[in-house]
Symmetry: C2
Subunit: 122 residues, 2 copies
């Protein structure tokens, strides 16, 4: 059940910033691209998407203006602000630091169990 796609908290913002950094897009397209690029691993429900967008806009990391889609529909196109770009870089670095660390921990082997324990228990 829980084996679907739940993104870790905070990651959604990072991904949105990243997609928007590639060029102006509207919300609906952001969700689609995330899903496509990740081969369906990342799926963003609208109930998560739009609140996230508004959140980022309120923090002045994104700016939006209404424009017409190629299909002739009005949509809010988002672009990064300067702060948004900085935030993207910071969060990207942070993400790497963190996943590297977690990866390191997950690679720990059980090779020390009975005896060597003293070395790192203390």
């Amino acid at each position: 059940m829980t084996a679907k796609s739940d993104l870790p908290q905070g990651t959604l913002d990072l991904l949105i910033l990243k997609i928007v950094a590639l060029g102006p897009v509207h919300g609906y397209a952001i969700a689609q691209r995330l899903q496509q690029v990740s081969r369906d691993v990342v799926q963003v429900p609208q109930g998560s998407l739009y609140p996230a967008l508004h959140r980022l806009e309120n923090r002045d990391l994104l700016k939006a203006d209404w424009k017409e889609t190629e299909t002739g529909r009005e949509a809010k196109f988002y672009r990064l602000t300067r702060a948004g770009r900085a935030q993207l870089e910071a969060e990207t670095a942070s993400w790497r630091r963190l996943t590297d660390a977690v990866g390191l921990i997950l690679k720990l082997s059980v090779s020390f169990r009975p005896g060597v324990r003293a070395a790192w228990t203390r």
Copy 2:
């Protein structure tokens, strides 16, 4: 500011399960080891640690018994249940799938901006 260490949601449980899988440990030591092994990237506040442990215990992923520390103090030593081990494996796999996907997205370059847009806007 937010550049401290905040773990993504759910990750704490995974890391705890992993450390406990290496052998019986008490809570305090779990936090220490996570910090050591990750070179201070991962820092678990006690207000996060103990609730997480209780959570995992309530889900029958961990079992605890009081024992004496090498330093002569009473402490709750946690060990994995069978379900806990299964959960660890599942969450590890899930973690990798997800970080791979996010890594892929973060590697996207801005090489397509002006022209190719049509290909993936649709």
